[in-house]
């Protein structure tokens, strides 16, 4: 069973702990500039939305890579970049429709979310539950349940 990152923007307070945890996991430093998950603020700070790779099944980045540096981790389903193979051509960054794979000028390679090998640190760090790691086939479960609760609570329902 694969799991997926589930993001609920309504719970995000823009605290950046996901970016801190992601950069620490992958670089050993607290450095949002190197985070693979980013928080975007809207409406003068009234809304905040964490955004990262959705791990497409037919991943554009994987298919575009000319040197097959991007492979599927069969245990997690994550599309992972092998830095030893990546030549930094950036074609994957053009292919990705969502912008979630990016070139790092520091390393000369591309970086993307790798689900931390099955223990995503962004979800671990998020204090409010805006980012959770759940059954990939049931990302709608919590919302479905909330809808069911709401419907049950309505008069006559």
């Amino acid at each position: 069973m694969h799991k997926a990152l589930l993001i609920d923007p309504h719970k995000c307070t823009s605290c950046m702990q996901c970016e801190l945890a992601c950069s620490f996991e992958h670089t050993g430093a607290f450095n949002p500039a190197r985070s693979r998950i980013k928080i975007f603020e809207f409406e003068h700070g009234a809304r905040s939305i964490p955004y990262t790779c959705t791990q497409c099944e037919e991943a554009w980045c994987l298919h575009a890579c000319p040197v097959e540096a991007i492979t599927v981790n069969l245990a997690t389903g994550a599309k992972e970049v092998d830095a030893n193979v990546c030549v930094g051509c950036k074609v994957c960054t053009i292919a990705c429709p969502f912008g979630t794979i990016n070139y790092s000028a520091d390393t000369g390679k591309v970086v993307k979310c790798d689900l931390c090998g099955g223990n995503p640190q962004c979800a671990e760090a998020c204090p409010t539950g805006a980012i959770t790691y759940v059954d990939a086939s049931w990302t709608g479960l919590a919302r479905m349940q909330a809808s069911a609760v709401a419907a049950h609570g309505q008069p006559g329902a």
């Binding site: 307070t13 823009s14 605290c15 950069s23 620490f24 607290f30 450095n31 500039a33």
Partner: protein, 606 residues
């Protein structure tokens, strides 16, 4: 580790910048942020110079935990000599700017001199440029931040700026970062304006590392869980700081109508519940809560003004969400000015953030002007025809804008309460300590708070001591000296870490110590942090004595010392400062004139 070990020093007179290594002897003695910046300030300028002269230094300081995974790691402090008080000013702020400065590779940014033309500082890691600010001079903090991001084509740029108030040397102008967070008190924005420095725009990609990553992450996880479960934190998340207003009204400690009263009948219209209530027209003041960088509390308020309200019915530019009411704003604009219109309060708060002004000092100054108006000392001829009666919501919003743009009577309000009251020959009307307006706690009802006001290095302030529980238990001056002194030292230590004081409902110094110890080299215990705090407090005292302040300045407005509280728990009582102050000096190891003894200074190695 923890520290970046680099200080960026900018000389605006010469138009130069240079990086120097962090003085580790000072870092080990003063830790960071408030403490370390106070040491650098003391060594970088003569405390006697005019606060608004080029000889004053302006320091933006992070702490060793700023930018780390530690909860509430977004804090930075602005430390300088303050133009409101003539004393050392230390105002700290959250948001994201402080962490970004750290990520760019600097513990401290020290600004000297005065530029001949308006400039801003653009820092991108090692690239530091002093750039022409002409396109944004004369505009708001909001416009400046928007322009800088567009001009540098960098939406991730973090900006700390001043508005027209800071440019115009309004004595309580603040430094605004991330649109609605501010280094708010003591006029640090006016110092920035005096240097013709419009903004500091930073982009940092270097990151922060810690000494023992594994132990640090374990300490962070434990302290974070403790903070998350804390009832105080949950209250702040849901209600914000304005939960306090009902307590203070009920207790009789809510300064009302320029502190002539201690309870405000309009409290329920401007309290945290009013912010959360949905009106018949479907409007709700509170939109959401919001966190600063690295914060597990998320007490920030994001609010909207009712679109039908007179302030914005014809002004679409203020219909968006922005920073909402804190307790101090609700007190200063609400109770202290006798105004119960939550939308007018929220609008005035937006203007404070837009033009960079301290709402506590603005509210206190307007309240003094309102009292003078009702006395007949000030008339419509002075106030541009605006009737400055207590309770006049329109007057609040008009004067907020006039002061923010430095127009008409706003130029007088920009002097602050002390100078305004002196100008009209009625100094007793100014409810200030060392020239700074009081926050929302009456010193007759909260006696130890009064002692804290009198002895705070930056004048009237509620953020440099914590005698709250003792004050609620006993309305007298008895036994307040030691908890006041101890809490001042504790908070000075917290203010030197890079973390937020609001964690202290859940954390003691032990929780700070385990995180500092894992992040920094050397042994860091709670006892050592206490020593850093006491050392810092005594250093600030030395700065103020060198600046010319004396024990005569450790006093309270006559209203708190002579006029009994008219109602509430403290009805009939005045503040017992004369009992508390000598005991406090003894606790501190200071002479009866409030001067640290040689023994105290050598014990603390100040």
């Amino acid at each position: 580790m923890g520290w970046q070990r680099r200080v960026l020093r900018v000389d605006l007179t010469a138009g130069t910048s240079a990086v120097e290594p962090l003085n580790m002897e000072w870092a080990n003695a003063y830790l960071g942020e408030r403490g370390l910046a106070s040491k650098y300030l003391m060594e970088s300028m003569d405390p006697k110079v005019d606060a608004l002269s080029p000889e004053n230094a302006l320091i933006f300081a992070t702490g060793p935990l700023t930018g780390t995974m530690a909860s509430t790691s977004g804090r930075y402090a602005v430390v300088t000599k303050g133009p409101l008080t003539g004393a050392i000013a230390c105002s700290n702020s959250g948001g994201k700017f402080g962490a970004e400065l750290k990520f760019a590779g600097y513990d401290l940014l020290i600004v000297h001199g005065r530029s001949e033309r308006p400039v801003y500082l653009h820092i991108a890691d090692d690239e530091v440029v002093i750039a022409d600010a002409a396109p944004v001079w004369g505009t708001s903090c909001w416009n400046t931040e928007e322009w800088l991001k567009a001009h540098h084509q960098d939406p991730l740029l973090k900006v700390a700026s001043i508005g027209v108030a800071g440019e115009s040397l309004v004595r309580y102008a603040c430094v605004v970062n991330d649109l609605h967070r501010a280094a708010g008190r003591s006029g640090v924005g006016a110092v920035m304006g005096s240097k013709q420095l419009k903004a500091v725009a930073v982009r940092g990609t270097k990151g922060v590392t810690v000494e023992d990553p594994k132990r640090f992450m374990s300490a962070v996880a434990q302290t974070k869980a403790k903070l998350w479960d804390d009832p105080g934190r949950r209250g702040l998340e849901k209600y914000g700081t304005n939960a306090m207003i009902d307590n203070m009204h009920g207790f009789g400690g809510l300064p009302t109508r320029n502190s002539q009263q201690v309870q405000f009948e309009g409290t329920t219209k401007i309290n945290a519940r009013a912010m959360r209530a949905t009106g018949e027209d479907g409007h709700r003041n509170l939109v959401t809560n919001k966190a600063c960088f690295g914060c597990t509390i998320a007490c920030g308020r994001i609010a909207k003004i009712n679109p039908t309200h007179f302030t914005i019915v014809n002004r679409k530019e203020y219909r968006h969400a922005s920073g909402g009411l804190e307790y101090e704003t609700a007190f200063a604009f609400g109770a202290e000015c006798g105004i119960d219109d939550i939308d007018a309060l929220t609008f005035a708060n937006f203007i404070m953030n837009e033009q960079g002004m301290d709402p506590i000092s603005f509210g206190g100054t307007l309240a003094a002007a309102m009292e003078l108006y009702e006395m007949g000392v000030i008339t419509d001829a002075d106030t541009d025809g605006v009737p400055l009666e207590f309770g006049n919501a329109e007057a609040l919003t008009i004067m907020a804008e006039k002061t923010g743009r430095f127009e008409g009577f706003g130029r007088v309000l920009g002097l602050g309460s002390k100078r305004l009251a002196e100008k009209y020959g009625r100094p007793e009307v100014s409810i200030t300590i060392k020239g700074q307006e009081i926050p929302g706690y009456d010193a007759r009802a909260l006696q130890g708070m009064g002692l804290g006001y009198a002895t705070s290095p930056r004048g009237a302030c509620h953020m440099k001591h914590d005698v709250f529980e003792e004050d609620m238990d006993d309305v007298s001056g008895n036994g307040k000296a030691k908890p006041c002194k101890d809490s001042q030292d504790r908070i000075a230590a917290v203010d030197s870490t890079g973390l937020c004081w609001f964690t202290t409902s859940a954390w003691g110094l032990e929780e700070f110590a385990v995180q500092v110890d894992a992040a920094c080299e050397g042994e860091w215990t709670a006892a050592r942090l206490t020593e850093v705090g006491e050392r810092t407090f005594n250093l600030e005292r030395r700065f103020n004595l060198a600046a010319g302040l004396t024990s005569a300045d450790d006093t309270l407005p006559k209203r708190f010392l002579r006029t009994p509280a008219p109602s509430g728990t403290a009805e009939g009582k005045v503040n017992e400062l004369s009992v508390m102050l000598p005991a406090y000096y003894r606790e501190r190891g200071w002479t009866s004139d409030g001067v640290p003894t040689n023994e105290t200074l050598s014990r603390l190695r100040v």
